[in-house]
């Protein structure tokens, strides 16, 4: 018996070490032990390894998914470690009633012209509140969005919204996707308001949340802004190390990565890190050359297309073009200002939860963090108005890996809480009692 004790101790220490490693690599597991056997940091339809013929599924079941309501307002009142106080407009203070109403609106698919699209169909909770499964968004009737869905994590902190920075407040921002023809495609503001008024589930909810005011352009925006303003995610391993002074919270490799991030790599020139907090964004727009490259691309050649696990083919681009509708170029900030110097400038995204928000860049064209760093290491894509901050970095392979380790340490400690809270939200779909816009006059047939 005595002889076995050291073995048990060694095993115990090993297990603890393994757990600590796992928790620091997948920090979201830390705040809900019940979720440790679930992969909710990514699509439940897990396609990792799909490139290989040996791909094996690990598919989660939608019927098994369990939601758990969280105290969302606490993430506004006391944002997680590493974030500054949440800016809240005086005319729209946060309240639990407004947050819950905003969350209900966020996941209501009826708030689109044909009842198929909610905000949550693109900002998918377990996929980093973006869409990991496609490069650029697809809207009502499958209409093409030319940009990657940006995450809504920590969106409370920014004054430039959308990849081209065209909007300035969350309250106003919500109306763009509601009305955009290639997003939710509602024909007018009044149409959305009237629809909400006609859905019985909303009876009284606006009035309770807004001191007697019903659904209006303003209250709809304020409710949705309230929910999005709670999606603050930090207290990551990096935060616990850098701001919390927990020495072992991140690996030595991640620490080296941080030195590169703020030093040789020059990343923090745009992805800002401050003394008391870090938003990892300067809230400005820059030309990295990626937009330029896409605008100037050639249509000739071939494209490698995957057909099944481990099976690829090279398709002539002319074949692909035969089934392609015309694609709109993306000129970034220029589309807002029409200033030629603003061509191909896009907003600096925050890097918080960046491990969860692939694919990357404004057009979703880069799939891994390693490839993003390689892109910047090469100095972006040269063009006459390339940002002077973009230059070859001369990072070695191991330095690139260090940076990747650092970026992987930025996953917030409350991700599981925010995702399972979203799972608890009702998904609004057409019910028998809902207004049947198209077919209520079926006797005409």
């Amino acid at each position: 018996m005595n002889k076995s004790v050291p073995v048990v101790k060694v095993l115990f220490v090993f297990c603890i070490a393994l757990l600590v490693t796992a928790v620091s690599f997948f920090p979201g597991f830390a705040d809900d032990p019940g979720m440790q056997n679930k992969v909710i940091f990514g699509p439940g339809d897990d396609k990792r390894g799909y490139e290989s013929a040996d791909y094996t599924t690990n598919t989660l079941d939608l019927q098994k998914r369990i939601g758990k309501e969280a105290d969302l307002i606490s993430f506004v009142r006391q944002p997680p470690l590493g974030l500054p106080p949440v800016p809240v407009p005086a005319e729209n203070p946060v309240s639990t009633k407004k947050i819950l109403l905003g969350r209900k609106l966020f996941f209501d698919r009826r708030l689109s012209i044909n009842d198929t699209f909610s905000c949550g169909m693109c900002h998918i909770p377990e996929q980093g509140f973006t869409n990991n499964e496609i490069e650029t968004a697809v809207g009502v009737e499958g209409r093409t969005g030319k940009r990657n869905t940006p995450t809504v994590y920590n969106v409370a902190y920014f004054n430039k919204l959308f990849h081209d920075g065209r909007e300035s407040t969350l309250e106003q921002q919500v109306w763009s996707p509601f009305l955009a023809r290639n997003e939710m495609a509602n024909p007018s503001i009044g149409y959305v308001i009237n629809k909400i008024k006609a859905i019985r589930e909303y009876d009284g909810l606006f009035e309770e949340a807004f001191d007697g005011r019903g659904p209006t352009m303003e209250t709809v925006g304020m409710a949705l802004a309230n929910y999005q303003r709670t999606l603050n995610s930090a207290d990551s391993p990096f935060d616990r190390w850098y701001y919390g002074k927990e020495k072992g919270a991140v690996s030595e490799q991640a620490k080296r990565g941080f030195q590169l991030f703020t030093g040789k790599g020059g990343c923090s020139a745009c992805h800002l890190v401050k003394e008391e907090y870090a938003l990892f964004s300067d809230d400005r727009l820059h030309n990295t050359g990626l937009g330029y490259k896409e605008s100037m691309r050639s249509g000739s050649g071939t494209t490698s297309v995957q057909l099944a696990p481990g099976i690829f083919t090279e398709l002539e681009n002319t074949v692909i073009q035969s089934v392609s509708r015309a694609k709109e170029n993306d000129l970034g900030l220029y589309e807002v200002t029409e200033n030629p110097n603003d061509r191909w400038k896009f907003r600096t995204p925050s890097l918080r939860n960046v491990a969860l928000t692939a694919p990357y860049m404004h057009n979703g064209s880069i799939y891994t963090l390693r490839d993003v760093i390689d892109f910047y290491n090469r100095g972006g894509i040269p063009n006459e108005i390339l940002s002077p901050l973009i230059r070859p970095l001369h990072l070695t392979d191991s330095e690139v890996e260090d940076l990747v380790a650092f970026l992987n340490s930025l996953t917030g400690g409350n991700v599981t809480t925010l995702v399972t809270d979203a799972f608890a939200a009702p998904v609004g779909d057409m019910g028998k009692d809902d207004p049947n816009w198209t077919h209520e006059n079926k006797l005409e047939y």
Partner: protein, 460 residues
């Protein structure tokens, strides 16, 4: 070594099964007499003579006519004064991504689904076979099923319609299920596809249990239901070219066929069938215990078959065209005698006829250029008439000059297709024709109306 042993075992199983099937086809009775238009449910009333109408579930296109989805009725009885002409067009409002449709077992109602809006339109086709009317619209499919999106196949079971869905309302991906409705359109039950997290008692035969869905067919004799797998809303609604260039999106295709217990609706085996197995067609012969499917992306013919011990298997039995060029096999149709399989390849616009007398060794014996693109086929029970339509999906169809949209009839003499008529759906301001279903006065013991359309020959 283990792999080799498995291969030998599979070869042996395949050989034995082949011999059994061959034997069955030699001594078994001819099944043509019991066949309906050949891809229909065996539970349905059958048109065994000349069909009077083809109902074409048509996708609206912006800028074409009213831009709305519609059920188009074309007279196809040569004795009709309106032969080859559109006799009715019934718009349903909106573009719902009209796709597949299916008749109830009594053929009185046609269920037609919208893959985008999740509406199911139920048309009365028996009161006036030449002028269907909209009987009811199911608008709460997603809510009733607990989150299924994209009602696809509408398949007749006794007093019921089994609907296979393509997607879900959580991530618009491919995880989905089957939903069961009464012939009156009342929801009965949802049956979700097996996933790794919940196999629902099924065996995962290969590495994959993706939970995707597409088509559904049954072999009642064997108490078997079979389903296949395609892709979720994000892909089937996306611009086809955009998707081909999106490597992440291209990972989101189904790679499974599931064999179910028909009576209990419980999945039994999940087979790995890589590259989006789409349409399923089960053999009609009394001893032919197998179904075919083709994979859209990998361009293979797969046989789903039962061995002597009652075990089901899935194996690839042949290629379609040059798979490296992705001809994209879409609709297929088995002949009533189980000896032939029509396969449409969308990208090259061809129809190909495979001799499947030996189901383990299909051989292409004929091909014909139907148009610049082609999707669906419906053949008459005797195999003498084959109807074709052009549209695949609203955002997958070809663009520019290659975007032909037609409904065509060909006669098949056993050696070649002979063109009889074409209805140009753009010229007629109708839209994009997709699935076809047949109608006949003879089904309802009716006389032809004043248009003079003749009675069909007989009904079983």
């Amino acid at each position: 070594m283990k792999k080799m042993a498995n291969l030998h075992a599979r070869w042996l199983q395949g050989t034995i099964a082949s011999l059994c099937v061959l034997l069955a086809s030699v001594v078994g009775f001819q099944s043509a007499a019991i066949a309906d238009e050949t891809c229909m449910s065996p539970y349905m009333a059958k048109i065994v003579g000349q069909e009077d109408y083809v109902y074409i579930w048509t996708l609206g296109k912006e800028g074409v006519g009213d831009g709305s989805d519609k059920l188009v009725t074309v007279a196809v009885n040569p004795e009709s004064p309106h032969y080859g002409k559109v006799v009715n067009s019934l718009s349903v409002g909106g573009r719902n991504e009209a796709h597949h449709s299916g008749l109830t077992d009594d053929r009185r109602y046609l269920f037609a689904g919208g893959l985008d809006t999740n509406k199911i339109f139920i048309f009365d086709v028996h009161t006036h076979p030449n002028k269907p009317s909209l009987h009811k619209v199911i608008t709460d499919f997603v809510e009733k099923t607990g989150g299924m999106v994209g009602p696809h196949t509408m398949y007749a079971l006794p007093g019921r319609i089994m609907v296979s869905a393509l997607s879900n309302n959580k991530d618009h991906g491919g995880r989905t299920g089957l939903a069961e409705f009464t012939n009156e359109g009342e929801f009965v039950a949802a049956h979700w596809m097996p996933t790794d997290e919940d196999m629902r008692g099924a065996q995962k035969v290969g590495n994959i249990a993706d939970g995707y869905g597409y088509d559904v067919r049954v072999l009642p004799r064997r108490n078997v239901m079979v389903t296949s797998s395609f892709t979720g809303w994000s892909n089937y609604m996306m611009d086809f070219g955009k998707m081909l260039g999106d490597a992440e999106a291209m990972k989101r295709f189904g790679n499974t066929v599931v064999v179910w217990d028909l009576h209990t609706r419980m999945p039994k085996k999940v087979f790995e069938v890589p590259g989006a197995p789409l349409e399923l067609r089960c053999a009609w012969g009394a001893n032919n215990n197998y179904c075919f499917t083709t994979t859209a992306l990998t361009s293979q013919i797969w046989l789903i078959h039962e061995d002597d011990a009652g075990e089901w298997h899935a194996q690839s039995v042949g290629a379609i065209g040059d798979p490296s060029q992705v001809p994209l096999p879409v609709d297929i149709s088995i002949t009533a005698d189980d000896k032939g399989l029509w396969v449409q390849t969308f990208m090259d616009g061809k129809t190909r006829y495979f001799d499947i007398s030996d189901p383990f060794n299909p051989k292409q014996t004929y091909e014909h250029q139907v148009g610049s693109q082609v999707n669906m086929i419906s053949q008459s029970w005797d195999g003498k008439r084959a109807y074709f339509t052009s549209s695949l999906l609203g955002n997958w169809d070809k663009t520019g000059d290659q975007d032909e949209q037609f409904f065509k009839l060909f006669e098949w003499d056993g050696e070649k297709l002979v063109h009889k008529f074409t209805v140009d759906f753009y010229a007629e301001n109708l839209g994009r024709p997709h699935q076809m279903r047949f109608g006949a006065y003879s089904l309802y013991s009716q006389k032809p109306n004043s248009e003079g359309t003749m009675l069909s020959q007989r009904v079983e």
